[in-house]
Amino acid sequence: MNRLAQEHVLDVQGVAMTFGGLMALSNLNFQVKKGTIKAVIGPNGAGKTTLFNIITGSFPPTKGTVKFKDEPIENLKAHKIADRGISRTFQTIELFSNMTVLENVMMGCHTCVRTSFLSSGLKLPRSHRKETEILDRAMKVLRFIGLGEKINEPADSLALGEQKILEIGRALASEPELVCLDEPAAGLNETETHVASSLIKAINAKGITVLLVEHDMKVVMNISDEILVLNYGQKIAEGTPEGIRNNPRVIEAYLGGEA
């Protein structure tokens, strides 16, 4: 890792989230270095998805700040955060099921290339040019993720593994600096998991920072540069895969035992 890569893309400081009386996250601090893959793990209910939802703007945190490239984003709406360069996938697949594979990825381009209602309606040359640009970008992404042959199929006709890949592709179409992947390997068989892991590595090789939540430890240990472990909304460990594997607190959280 060179010097440049040490720069933080994401800086989470003192983030807390309460739902009613329930403390989902408390005083969470961590950073994500530029160009790395960071995994967030923890038992069910540890607050991983809550953390993702805060970073991507589904709701603001009760307390604390989230900085993306040194600018606070914790109070921005989801679409504004997407515009800044953070894209995401969802734990339960949220593809646009009424669209084709190609259209799903084209939708992902919305942050970079968009047309106004009026110029689309009047079909001004400008909107036509933009549509061609969107199409080119989407095709590039589809070839990269290996779905170039299935562009005209309805998104919901794909196998689960391909749907997960397509969601990642859709997230890439916006040319983000940070992608947040919520359980990219959930429900996949071994081959599909392998495909997904290679894809995540390939994305990272392009210089895109990756933050992921994942339960499959093989995937996590295999691809992450750093791991953050949450339990009951608190950070219990952070470090390299090697360090986490041997951390007694992590083992305890996962296997149970006296706290």
Binding site: S87, E94, N98, M99, M106, S120, G121, L122, N152, S174
Partner: protein
Amino acid sequence: MLQIAKLPIAIFAALIITFPWMAHQIPVIDHYADIMVFVGIYCLITIGLSLLMGYAGQISVGHAAFFGIGAYVSGILTTNYGLNPWICMIIAMLITAVIALLVGAPSLKLKGHYLAMATLAFGIIIFIIFNEEIEWTGGPDGMPGIPGLSLFGFKFDSVDKYYYLVWAFVLAAFIFTANIIQSDAGRALRAIHTSEPAASAMGVDIAKFKIIVFVYSAVLASLAGSLYAHYLNFINPSTFDLFFSIKLLIMIALGGMHNIWGAIIGALLITFLSYEWLHYFEEFEVIVYGAILLLVTIFLPNGLVGVPEMLKSWVRRKN
């Protein structure tokens, strides 16, 4: 990619252009051109509603109100102040846009049934205003003496002339809307319909898109209202009641709201049913509409435009 084929549009345009001539050849349907004027006026509303409900997935049970606002603003400004009807038409659309913005901004945050209730209430309020503000609207007796339309000395004073005027507007609205559907904006609307969280994660400003489509559909309804007022030269509140809002929904449900052609087909069938074919049923007419809505929701969730697709998959299953 979603593409709306150009050939059917060309064929449809050709049919519309030749229709009055064809109708005049057959005495029994000679008056159909007159009914087709109303079909065109309703098409303007259903095209906007199709974009709002079918593509963006937002329910409105209050579009009769926007239709009425268009008609009454045109009526009041032309008869009381003698303004040029075309200018009144534009003023009506602007007023409607502002009202739709004010009503839509809070309402569109609501979902499903609640949005339906909010637009329903709005429709009822406007209907009451048409009835009660007698000084302005003439109340339940209606408003007579609304002038016809003319352009550079050319008077749209016959059924056929008005027919072509209305259908020119319909064609323009159809093409404008079809262009939107096939663009990035149209994709964003369909995205909102399927998954709001995913759409906003793709950078879609959901609130903005919903408002724009709501205002657009309201403005089209207002234009339809102005054209209606200048055609009949007389308006009264009962045209713009709750039942008309529901009739509009039956139109797009019957035609198929997930397809812009459904808006045209639905408006065509329901208008002919109510102006011509259902006279036989007299006051039981309402029951027929109820039956249509019931049958369509149960057996044809994608409306009449969905029938070919249903047959295809049925044949595939049989083989």
